[in-house]
């Protein structure tokens, strides 16, 4: 479903700030794969997500979605196939617009936008049904402005908006990191539920190792712009945090140093 082949990216090339962000990344996701991505800060996780979404273009290498080469396709065209949820709960929704208007925007992802009314009766019913699956009582607040919702509610709405049109790829970039523990758990459970329901091909970046182990059928670990460890479905079932720490130490010959990584263990 998603193929990355030899993706390279250097920021600020030929300046003193030069930084290798992605170093020959190759990754294949089959349909229905749910891959969690871990790694310390600056490992290239977010850069990889931005390459897939089209927010950044690779220096060289190829990206294919469903067999189609999208390497040079601009972000807005690519997002027909890609659902995204960002770390910042404010980033995925339009605050001055109502819940139903936000959903209508997400609903129009697949087709060309026209002069049809965004929220008609039929769609409103569908929006209500979809919102009901969140169990947050948002289905009774269709006309509330999204800016009035709490961070957790907004993130749940973002998640629904990213998934309810069944995108080919779902990208989750630390989408629970900015929430308090109970809200984060809620969103984690919703993620599991929504991804399983439509068998979505998913890539999720997280700093929470436990979450990385609990969710998904595959796991990759990144460091210094490379994928240094891939855990396949058969091995992932029995994976423990200690295994990951030990594995990192074995490969890099150093202790994993990231305050955030340690804190969230």
């Amino acid at each position: 479903m998603l193929n990355l082949k030899g993706i390279n990216k250097i920021f600020n090339e030929a300046t003193p700030d030069e930084k290798v962000a992605l170093d020959n990344i190759t990754l294949d996701l089959k349909e229905g794969d749910f891959v969690t991505v871990i790694g310390s800060n600056g490992a290239g996780k977010s850069t990889m997500m931005n390459m897939i979404s089209g927010a950044l273009l690779p220096d060289f290498g190829h990206i294919k979605i469903d067999g189609k080469d999208v390497t040079r396709l601009p972000e807005y065209k690519r997002s027909q196939f890609i659902g995204r949820v960002f770390q910042d709960p404010m980033a995925g929704t339009a605050p001055t617009m109502t819940i139903e208007e936000n959903l209508a925007i997400a609903y129009s992802r697949h087709q060309k936008r026209s002069l049809r009314i965004g929220v008609n009766k039929k769609r409103r019913e569908f929006f209500k049904e979809s919102l009901a699956t969140l169990h947050l009582n948002l289905e009774n607040r269709l006309n509330a402005k999204v800016g009035l919702l709490s961070g957790g509610e907004r993130q749940a709405l973002s998640l629904l908006m990213a998934t309810f049109t069944k995108p080919n790829i779902l990208l989750l970039d630390e989408h629970t990191a900015a929430l308090d523990p109970s809200r984060a758990e809620l969103i984690t459970n919703l993620t599991k539920q929504l991804v399983e329901k439509d068998n979505l091909t998913t890539l999720m970046v997280t700093h929470n190792m436990q979450q990385a182990i609990d969710l998904g059928n595959r796991l990759i670990m990144m460091d210094k712009g490379q994928i240094i460890l891939e855990v396949e479905p058969s091995a992932k079932k029995d994976l423990q945090i200690d295994d990951l720490m030990a594995e990192f130490q074995r490969i890099r010959g150093e202790k994993m140093v990231s305050d955030r990584t340690l804190l969230s263990v």
Partner: protein, 340 residues
């Protein structure tokens, strides 16, 4: 007095179309577009030139609107494709339009390429076309007789302008409200609200910004074309400070009528434009003030409209805190008494 206010309402409702355009860029798209000062004149110049050349006023007005749309789109292109800062894109387009407007009006004479103004005193206009039909209805006489019986001394020449403009402006308002609820309209609103988000839902924000600026300046030019036909002249300097007038209308309207929904806000903007004209007319009744002071008065009105809501909020806050403090003091005293 009555005549002055009557005239203000007539003008206000025509300028309201321009204010709707300013609302679309400033508030909906969050794009401070200064093209307005130029595109307003472009509308006036195009309409005046075409009417002088003998075209039908309706066609001339439509072409003027289209010219504004093109001007706005170019500002959009400058910002999205050439990556020029929004303010600067607008200023560049505004200054370019100054020359273009001279050239447009220059098409009416053979002796020079540019022309700074066109009088329309004896030409047809949208209004004269409509009056031909309106006068047969006899509504003017009926309304004026009513006013005379109420003791008003100077009755207006015609109610036709107010009637046709109310119909036209509200038709535009309802179309505008509807448009902002369509899929494209929702996407334009989201572009102003959170452009990262709308891009992640497969919308081309560049196209949306260009479209929004085009529509906005189309409305502005339409307003300019109507003002030229209402005032019976077009002048290359008539657009100076137009953006501030538009902003004044938006801010006054929002402060008085609120912004809860789109439907309500567009209503607020229209009445903001009318109220602005009335305030200006009343200010000019003061002996000391001259028509040349209009821009200064406008600036002061905008400052007041911006400052008053903040001050009011502060005072309310202060009163609330004082009340709480008094209550707390009272409770403490009571407590002290019970202990004693």
């Amino acid at each position: 007095m009555f005549t002055a206010i009557f005239g203000s309402v007539e003008q206000g409702i025509i300028y309201a179309i321009m204010a709707l355009g300013v609302y679309l860029t400033f508030r909906v798209l969050d794009f401070p577009d200064l093209t307005v000062d130029g595109s307003f004149v472009t509308g006036a110049a195009t309409a005046a030139t075409m009417i002088t050349l003998g075209y039908n006023p309706i066609i001339s007005t439509l072409c003027a609107t289209l010219a504004g749309f093109v001007a706005g789109s170019i500002t959009g292109l400058l910002h999205t494709k050439a990556k020029i800062n929004p303010l600067l894109s607008g200023i560049l387009m505004m200054i370019a339009l100054y020359s273009i407007n001279l050239r447009i009006m220059g098409l009416t004479i053979d002796t020079a390429v540019g022309r700074p103004n066109i009088p329309l005193a004896n030409s047809d206009s949208l209004f004269t076309l409509f009056f031909g039909f309106w006068e047969k209805l006899g509504i003017d006489t009926a309304l004026n007789n009513m006013l005379l019986s109420l003791g008003v001394e100077h009755v207006p020449n015609t109610w036709g302008t107010i009637f046709i403009m109310f119909v036209l402006t509200f038709a535009i308002k309802f179309t505008f409200d509807w448009f902002l609820k369509t899929e494209v309209g929702l996407a334009i609103r989201a572009t102003g609200d959170n452009d990262k988000m709308i891009r992640s839902f497969s919308a081309n924000t560049d196209t949306l910004v260009i479209l929004g600026l085009g529509l906005s300046n189309g409305l502005v030019a339409l307003s300019g074309a109507l003002i030229a036909q209402y005032g019976k002249f077009a002048d290359v300097g008539m657009g100076i400070g137009m953006i501030v007038i538009g902003l004044a209308s938006v801010i006054i309207g929002e402060a008085i009528f609120g912004t809860k929904t789109i439907v309500r806000t567009t209503f607020a903007v229209i009445f903001g434009a009318i109220i602005y004209r009335i305030v200006l007319a009343l200010a000019l009744q003061v002996e000391f003030l001259d028509t040349g002071d209009m821009k200064l008065i406008t600036a002061i009105i905008v400052v007041i409209a911006l400052v008053v809501p903040t001050l009011r909020k502060k005072r309310k806050d202060k009163v609330r805190k004082a009340k709480r403090r008094a209550e707390r003091a009272l409770a403490e005293r009571r407590e002290a008494k019970t202990i004693a």
